[in-house]
Amino acid sequence: MSAWRALHPSLTEELVREWEREDEEFRELRRRSADWKFIEEQPPHIRAALLYFIERGDRYVAAKIAGLTVDEFDELRRRANIPVVV
């Protein structure tokens, strides 16, 4: 973390705290909205991808876990009722 800040002095503590607050808000929104029954019914790699997306909101990594393209994963996360939060 500190090495990263040394590389990027413009990344202030205040901004980092704002991102952390934002991450928590977004995670909670995804958790609350998710169709957990649908998620539990999925095969393991799809379930893992959806759970990852709920935690991190990162469509790219989630798509890679699922073995899908971003667009294909997006269809899945819509069916699981997990919102994109920005």
Partner: protein
């Protein structure tokens, strides 16, 4: 107005009932061929194809100099755990926006965070769908008579695309629209 679009924005916006309005807001929207290659769903492919056919969406001629900028940016941002991972096509869009002055259309939190702090790339104007909806109001392409009507427009987008906008972003945008309505 000139725009540049990433895959997440295209995927999401293509599901929106008022998607055709995007072509009224921008004279041209640049797209990298690697962004197009990410599209798989019928809605996104159909939407992008129609924009290409109308000449609104245009393939960006990528250069060696821009490839060097991409590598530099990738090395700068790839390792931070607080920035959601950025795929190559999204960073290419950021480089295009930086080089051309085009407004970047993105739904990618990682891209938005880079624009928040990066000394060079903080000059890029990045809009999510929320800011696009705001601009549609200012340009008279979507008519609203109150902040509540604007909130209804946002709700339509959220419903069509399964999106939620952050409370801070919503507050800021609604305040701006309310001020604009009261001008």
């Amino acid at each position: 107005m000139l725009g540049v679009v990433d895959a997440c924005f295209l995927i999401d916006w293509s599901r929106y009932r008022r998607r055709e309005l995007l072509a009224s807001l921008f004279e041209a929207i640049l797209v990298h061929e690697e962004v197009l290659a990410q599209l798989r769903s019928p809605s996104a492919i159909d939407f992008a194809s129609r924009l290409l056919a109308r000449g609104v969406l245009r393939l960006y001629p990528w250069s060696t100099a821009e490839e060097e900028l991409y590598i530099q940016l990738r090395d700068e941002v790839a390792l931070d755990p607080r920035i959601p991972s950025l795929e190559r096509p999204d960073l290419l869009c950021l480089v295009i926006a930086h080089r051309t002055g085009a407004t970047l259309l993105t739904e990618n939190l990682g891209v938005l965070r880079v624009v928040q702090f990066h000394p060079a790339y903080s000059r890029v104007t990045a809009w999510t769908a929320l800011e696009v909806l705001e601009q549609l109001v200012y340009r008279g392409l979507v008519e609203v008579g109150s902040a509540e009507e604007f909130l209804n427009i946002i709700s339509e987008y959220c419903e069509d695309t399964k999106h939620v906008f952050s409370s801070k972003r919503m507050k800021d945008v609604v305040e701006r629209v309310r001020a604009w309505l009261g001008r």
